[in-house]
């Protein structure tokens, strides 16, 4: 159906970069989201204020602007911070690093809300029971709260990952050789932009379909109680 004129492998190598970018950003985004939710539910007013400022700012600013700012302004910012510590060499922020930073900051802002809602849905009695058993708060969080929260947060996180996957295309604007960029390169040299962008679109669709399947699998795995009835 599509004659890729030997550019197929280029698209696949781009798709691989896209996947790496999405997964690494997901990892950092989840950590930021958990910290954000903890800050929003904290008893310190300053932390609550900080987390609210973070989510409000990031959710109102275009992701492309974040990517551009961190790519073009990232080295400037890092160098000015480093020079305070006596390091005056040139620091370059590459497109992959800037992309990971921008996408995980964006993902973190949205996942903060998902995690916060999930945390609030865990009955207070769970904390109190663990406290009564003598568990320290950190351990309570990892052993009691997080496994239960996970199940509630997964559907929301799955949707956010779909958004993240699509947002990876923005990093091609600052020169990362992801799927989008390779489609641009291939369409430039073959003069068949429609073919290559359509193929790229279909590859994105395929990746999002696979992500949907993985999310559904994780949701089932996270809910053993729902599965127990189905076996037999």
């Amino acid at each position: 159906m599509f004659d890729l004129q030997g550019y197929g492998h280029l698209l696949w190598s781009g798709a691989w970069i896209t996947i790496q970018l999405a997964v690494v950003s997901l990892f950092f985004g989840l950590i930021i989201g958990l910290m954000g939710a903890a800050a929003k539910l904290s008893s310190y007013r300053f932390l609550r204020w900080l987390a609210t400022a973070y989510t409000t700012l990031v959710r109102g600013i275009p992701e492309l602007l974040l990517v551009l700012t961190l790519y073009l302004g990232g080295s400037m910012l890092l160098m000015s911070i480093a020079s305070n510590f006596g390091y005056d060499e040139y620091i370059e922020v590459g497109s992959f690093a800037a992309g990971v930073a921008a996408l995980s900051i964006a993902f973190g802002a949205y996942s903060t809300e998902v995690f916060r809602a999930a945390m609030m849905a865990i009955p207070k009695g769970q904390w109190e029971a663990a406290y009564a058993l003598g568990m320290p708060p950190t351990k309570t969080f990892y052993r009691v709260i997080l496994p239960q929260m996970w199940k509630l947060a997964l559907p929301g996180l799955g949707n956010l990952f779909q958004v993240l996957l699509k947002d990876t295309a923005l990093v091609s604007v600052v020169g990362l050789n992801d799927l989008m960029r390779q489609a641009y390169v291939a369409s430039g040299s073959t003069k068949e932009p429609f073919t290559f962008y359509l193929v790229a679109a279909l590859i994105y669709l395929g990746m999002s379909a696979i992500a949907t399947l993985i999310a559904a699998f994780l949701e089932r795995a996270a809910d053993p109680a729902a599965n127990a009835g189905k076996t037999a």
Partner: protein, 230 residues
Amino acid sequence: MNWSWEVIWEYFPRLIDGVWLTLELVFLSGIIGIIVAVPLALMRTSKNLWISGVPWTYIYFFRGTPLLVQIFLVYYGAAQLSFVRDTVLWELFKEPYFCAVFAFSLNTAAYSAELIRGAIQSIPKGELEAADALGMSPSVKIRRIVLPRAFGIVIPAYGNELILMLKGSALASTITLLDLTGMARTIIARTYTPIEIFTAAGFLYLLMAAVILGIFRLVERRFNRYQVRN
């Protein structure tokens, strides 16, 4: 790093020019998007698979692929299609402004159609049965009952969709348009002060988002005023 207020001050009028283009793009695409979305949503609620399948495919494609791909598909891709390049259509598709509005409209239509479909399906059954009992024809029922009710339900969610579109409109800068992001990029290419100019642009985006949300609060109150008691 030296933060320079002067550069923000000097180029602020240019950024405001960008704000107008951004608002224009969002507003135009929003209107066209709704006009396309309503029939799509109505088709989606059909029980006939041939009728509901077409909007399903459309919505799946536009929600599952990056907006950037869609814009490039329209702006760069159109030139490859001979029925566009060799006809009067080319007068439209060679313009980045038209391509941006075209791609944004199709994109937001897909998201809005899903929202409207959800709203239509959440209208209480009794209201539709009451319309039938009064002898309303299907078209009158849709016009007088289904759509006004659906719009009332969809407004809060549509406000969020508009914010997403506002953020998405930054992609117009990738096809040479001087929207707020495009203007900021041009200024930075000349002054090399990315942090100052992008911060200023970011605040202008936040301001626009706040204004849009504020307007939607008002519209929501007006549309659902029958629900307000006392």
